[in-house]
Symmetry: C2
Subunit: 235 residues, 2 copies
C-alpha cells in the first residue's frame, strides 16, 4: 500500500518537505505535533525532532513551544557564505599574499561607527587601515576600528606584520555578528589605494562583531573589481 516506512531523519525531513512543496501543507498551516508524525511514520519522536530541526534551519518551517510547527509564510532562500581569512583565500589560489599597514592610530570613533557598534557615545578605539595584496597587486582594502576596551591586547600586536583580522579571528571569540554587502563607486582615496579608476564598481563587505553586548570590531573591506563572493549548497 504505502511506500516504504520512513526511517532515517533525512527521509522524514524529505517526506515533510515534499508535503510542503506539493501543497499538502500550505504556507501558514500548522503541522501535526512531532509525536503524531512520529507515530504516523513509525519512528521515534527524536527522529522527527532531528528532521524538524533541519527544516527549521533551512527556513522551511517555524517552530514554537506550545505554538507548534507552522510552514513559514515567507519562503526564503537561505545561503551559507564562508568568508575566509584573506591570506588563506589568496594562498589557496596559489597566489602570493602580502600585506601593507597604511595606518594605525588611536582615535575617537566618528558618528557612523558609533551607530554601527551601537555605542552610547563616541569613545577612543584603534583605527587601522590596511591593504591586502595578491601577487603584489591590491586585492582588498580594509578600514577597521577595534575596541581597546574589549580587546586591549590588540595594542601589543605588531599590525605591520599580521593583519588585525587574523589576530582577532584566532584570539577574540564573538557571540554575535552582523554582515552587510553592497556596491560602491570607488572614491578618490579608495581608487588610489586599490589602484583602480575613480568610480569603478566595487563590492564592499562590512562586518561587525560583538561578545555579549561589548563591541569587538567593525571592518569595511573594499574589494577590487571582479571580486566575487560564492556560496554553494546542497547534494
Amino acid at each position: 500500500m504505502s511506500g516504504p516506512i520512513r526511517r532515517s531523519w533525512k527521509d522524514v525531513r524529505d517526506h515533510i518537505h515534499r508535503r510542503v512543496l506539493d501543497g499538502t501543507y500550505r504556507p501558514g498551516d500548522k503541522l501535526p505535533r512531532d509525536e503524531d508524525i512520529a507515530e504516523t511514520l513509525g519512528c521515534a519522536r527524536s527522529t522527527v525532532q532531528r528532521a524538524m530541526q533541519d527544516l527549521s534551519d533551512a527556513g522551511i518551517v517555524e517552530r514554537k513551544r506550545k505554538g507548534g510547527t507552522h510552514v513559514r509564510v515567507d519562503p526564503v532562500s537561505r545561503a551559507t557564505l564562508d568568508i575566509p581569512i584573506t591570506r588563506r583565500e589568496v594562498e589557496a589560489r596559489g597566489a602570493t599574499y602580502s600585506y601593507h599597514l597604511a595606518q594605525r592610530r588611536l582615535a575617537q570613533t566618528p558618528r557612523s561607527i558609533v551607530t554601527t557598534l551601537a555605542l552610547s557615545a563616541p569613545e577612543e578605539m584603534l583605527h587601522v587601515q590596511a591593504l591586502h595584496l595578491s601577487d603584489r597587486r591590491p586585492y582588498i582594502y580594509e578600514d577597521r576600528w577595534v575596541s581597546t576596551r574589549t580587546a586591549p591586547e590588540i595594542l601589543d600586536v605588531d599590525l605591520s606584520r599580521f593583519s588585525a583580522n587574523e589576530w582577532l579571528v584566532r584570539n577574540k571569540p564573538y557571540s554575535r555578528y552582523d554582515l552587510r554587502l553592497y556596491a560602491i563607486a570607488a572614491e578618490a582615496a579608495e581608487a588610489v589605494q586599490l589602484d583602480v579608476e575613480q568610480g569603478a564598481a566595487l563590492l564592499v563587505i562590512e562586518r561587525t562583531t560583538w561578545i555579549g553586548d561589548l563591541p569587538i570590531t567593525t571592518v569595511r573591506s573594499v574589494t577590487t573589481p571582479g571580486y566575487q563572493l560564492l556560496a554553494q549548497n546542497g547534494e
Copy 2:
C-alpha cells in the same frame, strides 16, 4: 575546584569552543573521542554529539568517522544570508510592490548560460527579463533563464502578473544551488531599465538552482544603488 558540571549541549559546545580559542586545542589538533569528552564532562555521548554538530556547522571543527574530530586549520567566518522573495521584501518595508515583465520568449541559451548551468550543449529555454519596483521606482532588474525541460509548467504561468521567482520558489524544489555576489558598473541597458546613471555601482546577485543534475533556473538580479544584503547571527 572545577566549575559547575557542564550539562546542556550549548555548555559543552562553549566549553570546547573556548578550549579551541584559548589554544588548548590548536588548528589541526585532534580532539578526544566523543565518548571520552562525555565521560570527562559527565554527560551522555549524544550531548557531546549535538555540541559537535553545532561546532562542525559553524566551521570550527571537522569530523570524520574513524578519523576523529579535528580543529579546522582554516578558521572561516560563516554567515547565513536570507534572500527573500522580492515582493515580500518590499512589502515588509511598508512600500508598494509592483512588477513589470519586459520580455518573455523561448530562445537558445548563450554560451555563458550553458557554462553556468553546466549543460553539455545549448538548448532552448524560457528567457525572462523583468523589473521589480518599490513605490513605483525601479528596485531590482532580473534576467532569468528557466529550463522548459525541468519545469515545463512555467510556460502556462502568467508571468505578466507574477514573477517567475515566486512561482518557482513555491513550486519547484531544488536540491542544490549556487550563489554569486559581485559589483558591476551599470551598462547602458541596465541604466535605462533601473533609471540610474550609466556606470553607477550596482550589486548583482546571481543564483542558479538544480534538482539532482537537472538545471531549473539561473537568474542575474541587478539591484539599484544603495541596496544591501544583510546577515545577522548569534545570541
